[in-house]
Structure formats: structure tokens, C-alpha cells
């Protein structure tokens, strides 16, 4: 009950007009960027990062959490109405949602996704309330070697488990770690990878990296693919559901929540896998199998609940351990560092008002989102009629302003351009963005923990092995990296001619659960490509 008391305290902290205003701005902006394909919460949070350094941390986090949750709501609107997912997390929603819209049931599809998102978001946020303090209690006893191992596991999770191609994931992670290494080494004071450029001695600011990769990279990518036939606007009235829709939706909502939350909390996270799993589960369990493929409401209700629950799950490792499991969380972590806070298990004891206020704001934001999305879905869809050159001109303007504002040096603008070109090249060659951003933000932290462990044992490599927690992590890493090789070998031994090259699962259905292709390009939907 301690948790509930703290939560009520959190409500007391955030229920001020100004904080509520930030929550409202957050969810509104979040829904808007969610609706627009290619522009996601990660890019938005990166663009707003320099602005929020001037805010109170609690207000900044309320704003970011609102954007994060709002993106999950908005993405489904585009999926349903345009067959182009607004976000990577709503790729699966498009499969049945757009069929429903074409069959004249757009209102019901929008309603089930908004209400399902609300229910999943609320249950998921309750999950944070009860789970996060437990994780903190456990994590507070962990030492540097264990942390190092957990971070390595996170790296493995975001590169090897997600995505279609391990090689591309590892390449992106290597790029991220390299960018993270630039600057003066904190232990020896040597310059690393600075190339003698004095401006690089302080390292490359996370804002410049995030804005360059997400905003400028995406802007260049869209500019290169600007011409595209417009979609038709499917007319929708006010979203509503009939009795049978409720009856068919409530179970998928709960199942989706149960699938989404743990996946969000794990470093193999992201909303892509649980939404796909939820879709498959609903397809198997449905009493109306004939409707799947022609617009079954279960196929919208389940995945939409799953993606919101996973958004809630993501906040557990972020707040309890300081570990980001998706791109938005990674940038929120950078924001915490920017305010001079140390993310990790001590955050809850050092800044209880911030953590509990943030969680309370999630409940408030979630309710606001339901009110914003249910009656206003047709208005949000109008955003899709904004000519894209206007949008991206605005984004590039904000990106340049933000990158310049960090240190007020023109050099950062050149850096921004270089990183933007890198982001463009990554999209061009199908490299996932998530490992890069996690590498940039988590890399220096992991390095510090690793060196601390080595210093404790005077450079003995055994210092890295630590206790049982670290052993489990290393075992999981070995399994995650080694299993595809082993299974590939086994398949080859069985003489299965299709099984060759098992370490690179670039299969035809691989792109469905490939978050990077969706995250970067937005419009690469199954059946809704450029």
C-alpha cells in the first residue's frame, strides 16, 4: 500500500494548472506526431530536448511521457484510415483496421483502438506502480559488474533480438558506440576520436545526435521520396461501438495488455513484437475466423492494447534501472542526464516527487488522450492533408535551432548535417536506428560501469563476471547470439535446403516485425508502401 500512498502523493504534486497544461500539450503534440507517418515520438522528444532543459524536470518528463503515450494513440488513426502506419507500433493495426474502414466500419475501429489503448494504458501504468519499486529494491543491491552485464544484455536485446538482420543491428550499434566514445576519456584524460578538433573534446551532444539521426535523416529521406500518390480520405463520423463490438473487444484488450506490458519492460522491447503476437493470438482465438483478413475488430483491439501496454512497460526499466528499451525512452534518459539527474535505482529514493509525479501524470494523460481521440479522430485525420514539404521544412528549422541552441556554436550545425546524412544512409541501407541511439546514450554509461568493475579488481578480468545476476545476463547474451548459428547448423545437418544462412533472418515476413524499417520510414506498411 506504500506504493499507492506514494502515487496519491504524486497526484497531489502534479495537479497544478501548469503541470496539467504540460500534460495536455504533451498528449496533443504526441497524438499529432503519432498520426503523421515518419514523424514519431522519438523525433519529437529529440526536437524538444533543448527547449526542456529550461523547464523543471518534472514538467519536462510530463511533457515527454504525454508525447510517448500520445504517439501510441495517434498511430492507430493513420493505420486505420490510410493503411499506412503512423508509428512502427501500429503496423499490425493496419492489417485489420484498414479493412474495417474500407468496409464502412472506421468509426468502430477507431473506437476500439482508442478505448483499448486507454484500458491497456491504465492497467499498464498500474503495473508500473506495483512493479517498479520491486525492481528498484532488487536493483539497489547490484554492483558495477552486474550493471555492466545488464547493459550488455540490453545492447544484445536491441540489436540481435529485434529487427530482420543481426549484422545490420550490430553495425548500427557499433556506429552508436563509436559516436558515444568521442571526447575526452573520463579516467585517463586522453582525447578519443576527436581528430584534433577542439569542439569534439567535450563529446558529441546527445541532442545533436538524436536530432540529426531522427529529424534531419528522416527529412532527407522523405525529400528523396517526396512524390507519392495521395491516399483517399475515408469519411468517418464520431467513433462509437455497438454492443457486439464491446463484447468482441474486451477480451482482446486484456490479452493485448498482458502481452504488451512484459515485452515493453524487457530489453528486447519495443511494441512491434507484442502487437504481432497479439494479432496472431486473436486470429487463433477468435470466434469469427472468417472475418480475419476482411476487417475483424479483434485484430484491431488486441494489438492496439498491446502497444499501449508496452509503452507503459518501457517505463519500468527506464525509471528503475536507467535502461532504455526503445528510442523514445533512450532520449528521455538523455533528458534526465541533461537535468543533472542520475538515472538508475537511486532515482526513486533521490527524486520520489519526480518519479511518482510522472507516473501520476501518465494516468492523467491517458484520460486526456481518450477524451482527445474518441470524439476528435476525424479532425486528427485532417493532419494528413498538410503538404509534406511544409511539415519537413518546419522540422528541419526546429532541428537546426535545437542543435545550435545546445552549445551556441556553428560547428554543431555541420555535425548535425553530417549525422543527418548518416541517418539518411542508414535508412537507405536498412540499418535500424534504435541500436545506434541506445549505443550513443547507454555506451558511455556501460563503459563507466565496466571500468569501475575492472578498477575494483585491479584490472583482473574476473571483476567483470560479478555475481549470479551477471552470469545469467551473460548466459542470455550467449544464447541470443549463439542460437541462430546453432539452429542454422542443425538445419543444415538435417539437409534442409531452405535453411541456409540461418544467422541472417532476412525472410519475406521478416519486415513485418522489423521495427527499424517502420520507425525510420513510417510509410513502409504491408500493402501501403511508397
Amino acid at each position: 500500500m506504500d506504493n499507492l500512498n506514494s502515487l496519491i502523493g504524486g497526484f497531489g504534486d502534479i495537479l497544478s494548472p501548469l503541470n496539467l497544461l504540460y500534460a495536455l500539450i504533451g498528449v496533443t503534440v504526441g497524438t499529432a506526431v503519432g498520426v503523421l507517418p515518419g514523424i514519431g515520438p522519438a523525433m519529437t522528444v529529440a526536437l524538444l530536448l533543448p527547449i526542456t532543459y529550461g523547464l523543471d524536470p518534472i514538467q519536462g518528463m510530463i511533457l515527454f511521457a504525454g508525447i510517448f503515450y500520445g504517439g501510441m494513440y495517434g498511430g492507430s488513426t493513420t493505420s486505420i484510415l490510410l493503411n499506412t502506419p503512423g508509428e512502427s507500433s501500429s503496423v499490425v493495426t493496419a492489417i485489420e483496421g484498414n479493412k474495417m474502414a474500407k468496409a464502412g466500419r472506421a468509426a468502430q475501429a477507431l473506437a476500439t483502438s482508442a478505448i483499448g489503448s486507454f484500458i491497456a494504458g491504465t492497467i499498464g501504468t498500474l503495473g508500473i506502480v506495483f512493479l517498479m519499486p520491486q525492481v528498484v529494491k532488487f536493483a539497489i543491491s547490484l554492483g558495477a559488474p552486474e550493471y555492466f552485464a545488464i547493459m550488455l544484455l540490453t545492447f544484445t536485446g536491441v540489436t540481435a533480438v529485434l529487427g530482420a538482420s543481426r549484422i545490420r543491428g550490430l553495425a548500427a550499434l557499433a556506429l552508436g558506440l563509436t559516436i558515444g566514445v568521442v571526447g575526452i576519456d573520463s579516467v585517463t584524460g586522453q582525447q578519443r576520436l576527436t581528430g584534433g578538433i577542439p569542439q569534439l573534446a567535450d563529446g558529441i551532444d546527445v541532442v545533436v545526435v538524436a536530432v540529426g539521426i531522427f529529424a534531419v535523416g528522416e527529412g532527407l529521406w522523405v525529400a528523396a521520396h517526396l512524390r507519392r500518390k495521395a491516399g483517399e480520405v475515408i469519411p468517418v463520423g464520431r467513433p462509437w461501438m455497438g454492443k457486439s463490438d464491446w463484447k468482441r473487444s474486451w477480451k482482446p484488450w486484456l490479452r493485448g495488455t498482458a502481452l504488451g506490458f512484459p515485452f515493453g519492460a524487457l530489453p528486447a522491447g519495443g511494441a512491434e513484437i507484442p502487437t504481432l503476437l497479439s494479432y496472431t493470438a486473436e486470429k487463433k482465438l477468435t470466434k469469427h475466423p472468417e472475418e480475419f483478413g476482411r476487417g475483424a475488430i479483434e485484430g484491431v483491439a488486441g494489438p492496439e492494447a498491446a502497444n499501449n501496454a508496452s509503452a507503459a512497460g518501457t517505463l519500468v526499466p527506464l525509471l528503475a534501472l536507467g535502461l532504455p528499451t526503445n528510442a523514445t525512452a533512450a532520449i528521455m534518459l538523455a533528458a534526465l542526464q541533461g537535468w543533472g539527474l542520475e538515472p538508475g535505482p537511486l532515482l526513486l529514493t533521490k527524486e520520489p516527487a519526480l518519479v511518482w509525479g510522472l507516473i501520476a501524470s501518465l494516468f492523467v494523460g491517458n484520460t486526456m488522450l481518450l477524451l482527445l481521440n474518441l470524439p476528435l479522430a476525424p479532425a486528427w485525420a485532417k493532419l494528413l492533408q498538410i503538404p509534406r514539404p511544409y511539415l519537413y521544412a518546419g522540422i528541419l528549422f526546429f532541428a537546426s535551432m535545437g542543435a545550435y541552441a545546445v552549445n551556441s556554436q556553428p560547428f554543431d550545425l555541420w555535425l548535425l548535417l553530417a549525422l543527418g546524412l548518416l541517418g539518411f544512409a542508414m535508412r537507405r541501407f536498412g540499418l535500424p536506428v534504435l541500436p545506434l541511439i541506445v549505443g550513443v546514450i547507454l555506451g558511455p554509461l556501460a563503459e563507466r560501469k565496466g571500468r569501475q568493475s575492472l578498477q575494483l579488481t585491479g584490472g583482473d578480468i574476473n571483476g567483470l563476471l560479478g555475481g549470479p545476476v551477471a552470469w545469467v545476463c551473460y548466459a542470455l547474451i550467449v544464447i541470443a547470439l549463439g542460437w541462430p548459428l546453432v539452429s542454422g547448423l542443425l538445419r543444415r545437418r538435417r539437409g534442409d535446403s531452405n535453411g541456409g544462412g540461418g544467422d541472417d533472418g532476412d525472410g519475406p515476413d521478416g519486415h513485418l516485425i522489423d521495427p527499424m524499417a517502420q520507425m525510420g520510414r513510417g510509410g513502409n506498411a504491408p500493402g501501403g508502401g511508397f
Partner: protein, 132 residues
């Protein structure tokens, strides 16, 4: 010589089309119906879907008109596209639907109809319709 009409799937478009059919009959000329959607937006409310275009073709056939329905999907300037087409087919008259715009709305968004009226080389028949 032909009558060219810019069609949008709403009341203004229907009004323009009705007027264009009358005009084509009066002049004993063929009718060219064109629907333009911009390619720099993700969704365009002025885009007519395939079903609507097929229905138009059928209706015009039933009326016994020498009519063609065309779709333009490239470019981001409907006025330019329609004027270009008018020059290409040497339209004798161009029929468009007008809608009410506030001065501020016109200032921000510009007006396709106004540009067509100002820049067209052939006569323009502008029809007011009901938006619903």
C-alpha cells in the same frame, strides 16, 4: 474542341459536372472530366476514388455523351495541372466549382479557382454549388 471540367468528390464538383454536361450538349462537343490529387500530401480530400470515377464513367455513358474521365496524380498545383491540360486538349471552355473562402483563408491557402480564373486562356464557367 472539348469541354473540360475539374471534378472533386463533393457538392461543388457535382454542380460543376452538371453544368459541364449541359455545356457539352449545348455546344455539341466532347466532355473531359479530370480529377486532380496532389502528390505531396498523404491524403487528399479532393481525390476521387476508383469507384467514384467508374460511376462517373457509367453515368456519362448512359447520358450518351462522348466523355472521358481522367485522373491526374502528379504535381502539387491543381491550377497549373488543369490549365496545362486545357491547353493540351484545346478546351473551348473550362468548368470549375467555386466554394466560399474567407479572405484570411484565401490569404493563407491561396485559391485554386482564382488562379484558374486569372490565368486561363479559354473562357471559364464558374459554378457555385452546395458543399454537402
Amino acid at each position: 474542341m472539348t469541354v473540360l471540367v475539374g471534378y472533386v468528390p463533393n457538392g461543388h464538383g457535382e454542380a460543376a459536372l452538371t453544368a459541364a454536361v449541359d455545356e457539352a450538349r449545348r455546344r455539341h462537343e466532347s466532355l473531359l472530366v479530370v480529377n486532380m490529387s496532389r502528390d505531396d500530401v498523404l491524403a487528399d480530400a479532393r481525390r476521387a476514388d476508383e469507384e467514384q470515377l467508374a460511376r462517373l464513367r457509367r453515368d456519362l455513358d448512359e447520358l450518351g455523351l462522348d466523355a472521358e474521365v481522367r485522373r491526374i496524380e502528379e504535381g502539387n498545383d491543381p491550377a497549373e495541372a488543369i490549365l496545362g491540360l486545357a491547353a493540351e486538349v484545346q478546351a473551348s471552355v473550362l468548368v470549375i466549382g467555386l466554394r466560399h473562402r474567407t479572405p484570411v483563408g484565401k490569404l493563407i491557402m491561396g485559391s485554386v479557382a482564382q488562379r484558374i480564373l486569372l490565368d486561363s486562356r479559354c473562357p471559364v464557367l464558374a459554378v457555385k454549388g452546395d458543399a454537402s
